[in-house]
C-alpha cells in the first residue's frame, strides 16, 4: 500500500493552515460544550448590571448606564485577551502541549493568530450579548449616526488588544505560577485606568493619556463619543483617538513579534518551555 505524499505547505499557505488548525478547536469547542455561555455571557452580564445599579443608586443621567453597557462589552474582549491569549501559552505549558506547539514547523505566531480568531469569536459573541441584553433590560438609547466609524474603532481596538495579548503571552511563556496572578493584576487596575465604567476624563487628562497605552482606553472613549456625541466628556478628538489607536496597533504588532522571538529564544535557552511550576 502506498502512502500519498501530502505537499508541504509553505509561506502564507502554511500560516493560514496553522492558524485555521488552532482556531478550529476553539470554534468547534464552543458549539460542542455550551456551558461556557453561562460563565462567559450570563453571569458576567449580571456583574455589568451591578454597575448599572450603582449609577441608578446615584441617580446618574441615563448616558452613564450606556457607559457601563459599553464598558461591560469591552470587558468581554479584555478578559478574553488576558485569559485566552496572554496566559494561553502558560496553560499549554501546564497541559503539556507547548512542546508540540514549539516543534510544529509553522512557528508560534500563526498558532497565536489562530487562537486570536477563536478568541475574537467568543469575545464578540459576549460583547454583542452584553450590548443587546443590557440595552433592552435598561432601555438604553444611543445617538449613533456614524456606524462605519464605530465599526472601525471596534476593529482597530481588537487588533491592538490581541497584539497586546500576543506580547503578554510571550512574557507568560517564561513565567511560572506568577502568570496566573499577573493576569489577576491586569483586571481591576486596568478597568480603573481605562475608564471601563466611567468616562476616562474623570481621571484627569494626564492620567487618561498615560492610560491610553492600553488600547481599551481610547477605544472606549471613541465609542462613547460616537454614541453620545454631544454629552460625553471626551479625552481627545475622535479622529485623533482613531489615529493613535492605529499607530498603537502597528507598534504593538511589532513589539509582539519581537518579544515573542526573544522570549521563545530565552525560554529555549534556559529550558523553561517544559518547566511546570
Amino acid at each position: 500500500m502506498s502512502v500519498r505524499a501530502v505537499p508541504r505547505a509553505t509561506g502564507f499557505t502554511r500560516i493560514v493552515r496553522a492558524a485555521h488548525g488552532r482556531a478550529y478547536p476553539r470554534l468547534i469547542g464552543n458549539f460542542r460544550d455550551k456551558t461556557w455561555t453561562v460563565y462567559e455571557i450570563l453571569l458576567p452580564l449580571l456583574g455589568t448590571f451591578a454597575f448599572v445599579y450603582v449609577y441608578k443608586a446615584l441617580h446618574a443621567p441615563d448616558r452613564f448606564v450606556g457607559y457601563v453597557i459599553m464598558g461591560g462589552a469591552m470587558t468581554a474582549v479584555w478578559m478574553n485577551v488576558m485569559w485566552m491569549m496572554a496566559s494561553q501559552l502558560w496553560w499549554e505549558k501546564k497541559d503539556g502541549n507547548l512542546e508540540l506547539h514549539m516543534i510544529a514547523p509553522c512557528g508560534l505566531l500563526p498558532i497565536l493568530l489562530g487562537m486570536s480568531v477563536g478568541g475574537i469569536f467568543m469575545a464578540s459573541v459576549r460583547a454583542v450579548s452584553v450590548v443587546l441584553l443590557g440595552s433592552i433590560a435598561f432601555h438604553v438609547s444611543y445617538s449613533l449616526t456614524n456606524i462605519p466609524a464605530f465599526v472601525l474603532v471596534f476593529v482597530v481596538a481588537l487588533i491592538g488588544l490581541y497584539a497586546l495579548g500576543v506580547t503578554l503571552s510571550s512574557l507568560f511563556l517564561v513565567w511560572g505560577r506568577e502568570a496566573w496572578h499577573t493576569t489577576q493584576i491586569f483586571i481591576e487596575p486596568v478597568y480603573l485606568v481605562s475608564g471601563i465604567y466611567f468616562p476616562v476624563r474623570a481621571l484627569g487628562f494626564a492620567t487618561g493619556m498615560i492610560a491610553s497605552v492600553i488600547p481599551l482606553t481610547l477605544a472606549l472613549d471613541a465609542m462613547r463619543q460616537l454614541l453620545y456625541p454631544n454629552t460625553h466628556p471626551k479625552l481627545l478628538a475622535l479622529w485623533v483617538e482613531i489615529a493613535i489607536l492605529a499607530v498603537l496597533d502597528v507598534i504593538l504588532i511589532l513589539i509582539a513579534r519581537t518579544s515573542l522571538k526573544k522570549m521563545e529564544l530565552m525560554a529555549r535557552r534556559e529550558g523553561r518551555l517544559g518547566q511546570e511550576s
Binding site: G29, P44, F49, P61, M79, K94, L192, A202
Partner: protein
C-alpha cells in the same frame, strides 16, 4: 540518653478517631497547601503589591464612578462603596481558591485522583483551600481598602473595640456563607470544562448584583431583592456596614433592626451551608457516576 528510633521502626500514626477530627485534619492540610500555593509564587514585595493593587483598583473604580456623577461632592454612599469593596475580595478569594483547588488538581497538577482517593475528607480539604484563599487574597484587601477609605477619602468608620468585635463575628458568619458558595461552585466545576477557570469571577460578578455589594438592595426590582435576601453574604455586608458606618449611610434593609440583621445572618448562613452540602454531595455523586471527576478538558 534515649536513642532515636529509626523512622521505619516507628508505629504508623493512628488514624483520627472521628469524622470530625478527620475533617479538621483535612482542612488544615488543605489550608497549608492552599496558603503555600497562594503566597509563595513570588517575592514578598510583588506579593504585597498584588495584594494591594486589586482591591484598591476595585474600590477606586466605584469612587470615580461616584465622582463622575457627584462632581467632587462627598456623601454617605461613599462609605457604602468602601465597605462593600473592602470585604468583597473575601468572597472572590474564597470561591476562587475552592474552584481552583479542584481545577488545578484536575487539569494542571493531575493530582485529583491521588487526593480524592486518599483517606481524607475531600470536603474538609476544599474548605481548607477556601480558607487559605480568603486569608491570602482577602485579608489584606479588607485592611488596605478600609485604610484608603478612611485616610484618603474621608469615610467615617466607627472603629471601637465593640464594633471591631461585631465585625469579626459577622465576618465569621460571612466566611460560612463564602464556604457554601465555594462548595456549590465546585459542584458545578465537576461537570464543566475549561471555562470553569473563569467561573469564580463570573459567580462573583453575579453575586455582586444580588448581594448588595456595591449598592443598596433597595434599588433592585422586587424579585432580585427577594433573591438577594436569601444569601447570607447580603446580610453579612449589611451587618458589617451597620457596625462600621454612621446611621446616615444607605441600607439594603432599612426596615430591619441591627439585631434582626444579625439573626438573619445566622439563619441564612446555616441554611446555605446545609443546602451547599446537599448540592455538593449530589454533584459529587453525579460526577463519579459519569466519570467526570478527573476528566481533563482544554481547548
Amino acid at each position: 540518653m534515649a536513642r532515636a528510633v529509626p523512622v521505619l521502626a516507628q508505629p504508623a500514626p493512628a488514624p483520627p478517631r472521628s469524622t470530625a477530627a478527620r475533617s479538621v485534619d483535612s482542612a488544615s492540610g488543605g489550608f497549608w497547601l492552599g496558603w503555600k500555593i497562594e503566597s509563595n509564587w513570588t517575592d514578598p514585595f510583588r506579593f504585597i503589591t498584588y495584594q494591594i493593587a486589586r482591591p484598591v483598583g476595585g474600590a477606586l473604580i466605584l469612587v470615580f464612578m461616584y465622582y463622575a456623577v457627584a462632581g467632587g461632592r462627598r456623601g454617605p454612599v461613599l462609605g457604602f462603596f468602601v465597605v462593600g469593596t473592602a470585604f468583597w475580595p473575601l468572597v472572590v478569594g474564597g470561591v476562587q481558591a475552592t474552584v481552583r483547588g479542584v481545577l488545578e488538581d484536575r487539569e494542571a497538577y493531575r493530582t485529583i485522583r491521588a487526593i480524592y482517593t486518599a483517606p481524607i475528607s475531600y470536603r474538609g480539604y476544599l474548605v481548607g483551600r477556601s480558607l487559605a484563599g480568603i486569608a491570602a487574597m482577602g485579608s489584606a484587601a479588607v485592611f488596605v481598602t478600609l485604610v484608603v477609605g478612611r485616610v484618603f477619602l474621608g469615610v467615617h468608620l466607627t472603629l471601637t473595640p465593640s464594633s471591631i468585635a461585631l465585625t469579626v463575628v459577622a465576618t465569621a458568619f460571612g466566611v460560612g456563607g463564602i464556604l457554601a458558595v465555594g462548595l456549590v461552585s465546585v459542584g458545578a466545576a465537576f461537570s464543566t470544562s475549561h471555562e470553569s477557570w473563569s467561573m469564580p469571577e463570573a459567580i462573583g460578578a453575579a453575586l455582586y448584583l444580588v448581594c448588595g455589594a456595591i449598592f443598596p438592595l433597595t434599588v433592585l426590582p422586587a424579585a432580585l431583592r427577594a433573591l438577594g435576601a436569601g444569601f447570607p453574604l447580603t446580610w453579612w455586608l449589611e451587618a458589617v456596614r451597620r457596625v462600621l458606618l454612621p446611621a446616615a449611610t444607605p441600607r439594603s434593609f432599612p426596615w430591619a433592626s441591627t439585631g434582626y440583621v444579625f439573626a438573619m445572618l445566622a439563619v441564612t448562613t446555616a441554611g446555605a451551608l446545609v443546602l451547599a452540602a446537599s448540592l455538593f454531595a449530589y454533584a459529587e455523586r453525579r460526577a463519579r457516576r459519569l466519570g467526570t471527576l478527573d476528566k481533563e478538558t482544554s481547548f
